[in-house]
Every structure is written in structure tokens, then in C-alpha cells.
């Protein structure tokens, strides 16, 4: 593994002021599960690595307005088992525990999970063409082995899948990211943070090079909402999603009052199925409504040679997740 300069930031101001120089030359490290893996593969080449683990960002706290504020350094394990999460956001707990392994969840941080990179094998192989890793070099996945690749949000420049489970749940729940930079603090809606690849797949998010994610704040829980995270994959545990669905449904007298639906494993970013959500509102909480929503959610899918099977797979994941979420709703 190539070498780098290493330093520890003692506070947030120091962390953001120290990440000087050009983008890509300095990297923050929290859990390190993405960064060290990719430095070993020579995919990421930081000149400087700044350790964030001394920063006071390990709290999970309920704000006065009912939202839940999560420090960026809270580990995936601690977040999944936190009483305020298991009680008010079981969808997030399920998604976290569906991701990675015990060891990786113990290491991985909340902020790092938001920032994790794709598992596209062409991105991870420096001998392959990849517009995300080497802009302008092309995309070997388009005509390659693209069984794991995305159906939604793709472009002719990139079809890499966003790998996170946590981010899918946060997309469905609604959340806000707090970003700290040299010029102060700003907030951005979770759904606006990750970018579509379009013609610049190397630009993955809205974080500036000198900015740091300090918190993720979840919207207030939907009253009476039931939820379910369903992840379909090649083996029962410790595998990335072929398709996953995060569903939240509030049912009153058999009618859907509010629905949230986000998809993983099939899109280039954590994917909120807004039109499917709108189609569900006011409809009877029955399988036919869920099947219609699943149809709408996949209507823009662009399958490739090896991943067309994901279209019916994702539809089935959506229907099943909506059924389970609906059954868990308090007032059905």
C-alpha cells in the first residue's frame, strides 16, 4: 500500500482547516473500511490522511422538534442498536444490520457509510476503463459483466450501483446532512447529497473538498407508520444487494395515508421512488396497489445484458416490503 502523511484532528475546526490542497490529495479517515481497502487497490491515492476519531461526534440525541440527530462518528453497530433508533426508526436499524459483517459494522461510521464508494469491479480495477475513477477513460461495465449494475439513474458514462443499505433507509425516512467547512455550517437534504453520474460520474456528492459531514438528522417519525427493509442478495448474509426496498406505510381504515419508498442495489444513488409514493397515497392498502407502485418505480429502468433479471426482482422486493410495512402500520 502506498504511503501517506497522517495526522489526527483534535476538533472540527482543525479537521476542516487542515484539509488543504487539491481535491483528492487529502482524505478523512473514520472507520477506514472503504479508504484502506481502496488505497490497497491503488484506486484512492491520498497524499494526506486525517484521522477524525478524536472529534466529539459520537452522540445520538433527540432534538426538541422530535428529530433524531446522529453524530457522524457513531458506528453502524451502535446506531443499529441505539434504543431511539430501534424504537422510532426500526427501518434504519434493519437496513444497518442487513449491511456488511459484524466486524465492518463495528468499524464503519455513519458519515463514512454516506461517503462509501461503489463496488463496481471496473472501478476497483485500475487496469479497467472507468469514468468514475479516471474521468474520460470510458466505462468497461457498459458492455462488460454488468450483472450487479444499476437500472435507474444511469448514464452512458457510468452504471455503477450505490452500495449502501443505510442510505436507502435514510432516503425513505427523510434526513438532513450537516456539513462543516472553513466558512461555517450548512445543511443539505439527504436526497440532494448524492449526485447522478450523468457526464461526470467522478463527482459523486455535493460535499466540497474542504467540508466534513458532522451529523445526519432524521426527520420526525411518521405517526402510525409501519416499515420494512427487504434486501435480496446472492447469499443470506454479508453480501451487497441485488435489489433492496425500504418501505414506510401509514394506513388508516384500510387506506394508505402516506407512503415512502426507497430502493437499493438497482440505482446509481440511494433511490427515492417519488412517483410510486404519490401513486400509493389514498389507495387501498392491498397488493394490487403495491404492484402498481412497483410497476411505476421501475418504469424508467434501463437494463443491460446481464442485469435485466433485476427488474422483476426489484418489483417483487417492493411489493413484499410494502405488504410487510403496511401490516406493521399502527392503524391498519
Amino acid at each position: 500500500m502506498r504511503n501517506f502523511a497522517f495526522s489526527s484532528a483534535e476538533n472540527v475546526d482543525q479537521a476542516v482547516s487542515s484539509e488543504r490542497g487539491n481535491a483528492g490529495e487529502a482524505s478523512y479517515i473514520a472507520g477506514g473500511t472503504t479508504l484502506i481497502d481502496l488505497v490497497k487497490l491503488d484506486v484512492m491515492r491520498p497524499v494526506q490522511v486525517i484521522d477524525l476519531n478524536r472529534l466529539p461526534l459520537r452522540e445520538v440525541e433527540r432534538l426538541d422538534d422530535g428529530r433524531l440527530r446522529i453524530g457522524a462518528l457513531v458506528s453502524n453497530t451502535d446506531l443499529a442498536h441505539h434504543p431511539l433508533v430501534t424504537q422510532h426508526y426500526p427501518l434504519l436499524s434493519q437496513a444497518l444490520l442487513a449491511g456488511a459483517s459484524t466486524q465492518l459494522r463495528n468499524m464503519a461510521s455513519t458519515g463514512g457509510n454516506v461517503m462509501q464508494r461503489t463496488r463496481c469491479p471496473y472501478f476497483r480495477d485500475v487496469a479497467a476503463a472507468c469514468n468514475k475513477r479516471a474521468p474520460g477513460s470510458g466505462c468497461d461495465a457498459l458492455e462488460g459483466v454488468n450483472r450487479m449494475h444499476a437500472l435507474l439513474g444511469t448514464s452512458e458514462h457510468c452504471i455503477a450501483t450505490h452500495p449502501s443499505d443505510m442510505c436507502v433507509a435514510m432516503t425513505a425516512l427523510g434526513a438532513t446532512l450537516t456539513l462543516e467547512g472553513p466558512n461555517g455550517t450548512r445543511e443539505i437534504a439527504f436526497g440532494d447529497f448524492h449526485r447522478l453520474p450523468m457526464d461526470r460520474p467522478d463527482l459523486e456528492h455535493e460535499l466540497e473538498p474542504d467540508e466534513l459531514i458532522t451529523h445526519v438528522t432524521l426527520d420526525t417519525p411518521v405517526v402510525g407508520g409501519g416499515s420494512h427493509y427487504l434486501k435480496l442478495r446472492d447469499r443470506a448474509s454479508y453480501e451487497f444487494a441485488l435489489a433492496s426496498a425500504a418501505a414506510m406505510v401509514a394506513v388508516e381504515d384500510g387506506v394508505i395515508r402516506e407512503a415512502r419508498l426507497a430502493l437499493g442495489g438497482v440505482a446509481t444513488k440511494p433511490w427515492r421512488a417519488v412517483e410510486a409514493e404519490q401513486a400509493l397515497a389514498g389507495k387501498p392498502a392491498r397488493t394490487e396497489s403495491f404492484e402498481k407502485a412497483a410497476e411505476i418505480a421501475l418504469s424508467d429502468a434501463v437494463p443491460r445484458e446481464h442485469n435485466a433479471f433485476k427488474v422483476p426482482l426489484a418489483r417483487q422486493a417492493i411489493v413484499r416490503a410494502l405488504e410487510k410495512a403496511s401490516a406493521a402500520s399502527k392503524h391498519h
Binding site: F6, I29, G32, D37, S101, T102, L104
Partner: protein, 180 residues
């Protein structure tokens, strides 16, 4: 800037070594290492603790599992410089002079290995999960919690049996004052 500076010559590979104190199995070790040395390599190549195994070196197989402050982690993805001030426990730290750890004894009795390469990592994950009240006690919960440890010989059935047998069996206290 009073930031703790470990190195300023990152583009000159291997050039900037730094002093790091690691606490491993209760013993303190002073090392001079580059920032890019992962805990796995520091344990094996610098401290001679070769019980911890290098399998995939990318956090995918679990052979390198150790405890950091009691939690199972992949030592191949952890920079050694980030472990200062934390307690590292390796498979060499499981037994004490009163005998094997109950998990080690159970692996022996249940024949929970064939080639043995993944076994240290399996045992470190097993000992951590038995101490973690957040992880369920049924077979499904144990299988899920152990899924980050791959066994290419396929000894999973016996590994599960060994873990469930070791459950609730406290480790005998060391006879001397030495901690393990």
C-alpha cells in the same frame, strides 16, 4: 497548528516512520512504523504474533479478526497508528495459564475446523459475540453475527455448535496475577 503530526512526507513511500505504542494482550509495545502499516501487519511482522491470519487483506474474509477494546474488527483495514490508546486482543490473548478459553476448548471438542487458517478469526468473532448482549442467542442470530468469517473448508456447522456450547461457560481465572 498543534495537531499531532505523525508524518509530513507521504509521497515518499515508507520514508516517514513514527513512534506508536500498542497495547496487545495486556502488554505494551513500542514500535516505529509508517502511517500505512495496518494493524494486521504490525501484529504479524513486527510483534511476531502470527496467530492472526492474512486472508484476503480487504475485509472480506475475517481471518484477520482481532478485538479492539473488546469489539471484533478486521485488522487488515485498521491503521496501526490509529490503535494507540486502545486495547488490542489477539488469539494469543484468549488462553490464560489456567487453560484454554472456553471457545477454544469448544472448537477443539467439536472439531470446528479443518485446515485451521480461518480458526483464529472465527474464535475472535465468537468470543466477542458471546460477550455482546445486543446479539441474539439463537442459532440464526449467531450465524448472522459470524457471517463475516469465511471458512472455505465449510466447517460452519461445527463452528456454530462450538459457539453454542461455549455460551455461558466463564473462563477460569488465571492462577497468577498476570492478566491475559
Amino acid at each position: 497548528m498543534n495537531m499531532k503530526e505523525y508524518s509530513r512526507q507521504g509521497d515518499e513511500a515508507g520514508s516517514a516512520e513514527t513512534a506508536v505504542t500498542l497495547s496487545v494482550n495486556g502488554e505494551m509495545h513500542q514500535l516505529r512504523i509508517s502511517p500505512n502499516v495496518v494493524l494486521l501487519d504490525a501484529l504479524r511482522d513486527r510483534l511476531g504474533l502470527t496467530g492472526t491470519k492474512k486472508g484476503c487483506d480487504h475485509g472480506q474474509c475475517g481471518a484477520c479478526t482481532v478485538h479492539l477494546d473488546g469489539q471484533a474488527i478486521n485488522s487488515c483495514l485498521k491503521l496501526a497508528v490509529m490503535c494507540e490508546g486502545h486495547e488490542v486482543t489477539t488469539v494469543e490473548g484468549l488462553a490464560n495459564d489456567a487453560g484454554l478459553h472456553p471457545v477454544q476448548q469448544a472448537f477443539l471438542e467439536h472439531d470446528a475446523y479443518q485446515c485451521g487458517f480461518c480458526t483464529p478469526g472465527q474464535m475472535m468473532s465468537a468470543t466477542a459475540l458471546l460477550e455482546d448482549e445486543r446479539i441474539g442467542t439463537d442459532d440464526a442470530a449467531v450465524r448472522e453475527a459470524m457471517s463475516g468469517n469465511i471458512c472455505r473448508c465449510g466447517a460452519y456447522k461445527n463452528i456454530l455448535a462450538a459457539i453454542q456450547t461455549a455460551r455461558g461457560q466463564g473462563q477460569a481465572a488465571p492462577t497468577a496475577g498476570k492478566t491475559s
